[in-house]
Amino acid sequence: MSNVPADLRYAKSHEWLKPAGDGTATVGITDYAQNSLGDITYVQLPKVGTVLAAGQVFGVVESVKAASDLYSPVAGTVIAVNPALDATPETVNQDAYEGGWMLKLKLSDPASAGTLLDATAYGKLIG
């Protein structure tokens, strides 16, 4: 069974978003996504300052099996990327919702998280 924390928002493309409440949010991929990908070997992330539209590709996650695009769940500007993933991308497998975070975004619209799935709807999607 995949772990779907109740306090996060989810994109259909299997990214999660955690609003901080100050107009910023953290983004990563879900437990379901990391489990489907298998051993993650490389994570390619954008530069700080990159402006992303909702649904825009922001990077690539590679596993032994395949390389997959990562999509920004909402519009925003990249204000941080996880520096640990360069050397230890397997953190995404081990800790998808905390240590395996990928981006921090300054949201273009602080209300945009509301357009995403809640945990119940995402749980149904991957059910």
């Binding site: 298998g38 690539v60 390389a67």
Partner: protein, 368 residues
Amino acid sequence: MSDLKRTPLRDFHAAHGARLVDFAGWEMPVQYRSILEEHKAVRRAAGLFDVSHMGEVDVKGPEALRFLNHLVTNDVAKLFPGRVLYSPMCYPNGGVVDDLLVYMRAPKDYFLCINAGNIDKDVAWIHEQAKGYDVTISDRSADYALLAIQGPAAVAIVQSLTGAKLDRIGYYHFAEGTVAGVQCIISRTGYTGEDGFELYHPAGDAVALAEAVVKAGSAHGLELTGLGARDSLRLEAGYPLYGHEITADISPLTAGLGWTVKLDKGADFIGRAALLAEKAGGAASKVVFFKTGDRRIVRADTPVLGADGVPVGRVLSGTLSPILNEAIGSALVTTASAAAPLAVDIRGTLINLQLVKPPFVELKKSST
């Protein structure tokens, strides 16, 4: 996946948390917990692989030796009872039908191990070539299960389950005996570059044998290991995989397997004339192995670029070496370009290929 073929261990794998995938029409475990961790377990201690999908063929009869030396490129006449030989089996044009192991059990009594995805093709091919020879060919693939125990702890684990004297079985030799009470062909062979054994045994005994190996192996750090780790282990060891480094279009000479092509063995084997011509004229292309110093995996079919950015070949296999922590792989490139700088374009980044003579890591396999 109900239309897939299953080994006798399918439910054993599922019960141990395997991720089961379609491999060459078989429902097989690609991994149990992590391909990278399973790979490291084999290099560090031991792994248990179910490779029961592999095919087995009996070749018996007065002309078994003469027939096999016509069928395959290596020299079967060098075998004696208890000895194993690796060989390609070629088409007349030098392309490869399959690569296989030849076991000599007794005079006029040989046993072949062939790739799972090639069983139907191989058996038809072998029957066709056997016309006019006094031999009997029997496809025994459904009768046998095959477990591979591989890694530095493999000998201790298997020895704890058998009265056979394993230190008397050298690399690429075999004996027949019981392991955990199951009658086995105990073969000191493998596809990981580590020391270890492959145990051919009756399909009905597979679950009992696998459970005995797991029980005996737990104190030695043995882990269940899937086909994902098997592939990265074989690539790290520099072993060819049919359909990648050797194919109907890539001859054993092109693949760097010249040591398995015995042009002067005194038998006019299938493909000999073409391979002789290839050797005399020089092959147009060759298989090379590379590492990159980068973690981005260079996947099969990625174009290989020469010094001026022009494509000079393509990647055949690629993975991340869990031991080197960098991408490794093989490629087919034009012979003329093989000495020049080579690169691949991964999502807009040019990555240089550093050519390596495999194995990529120091191997400790038995050399006796």
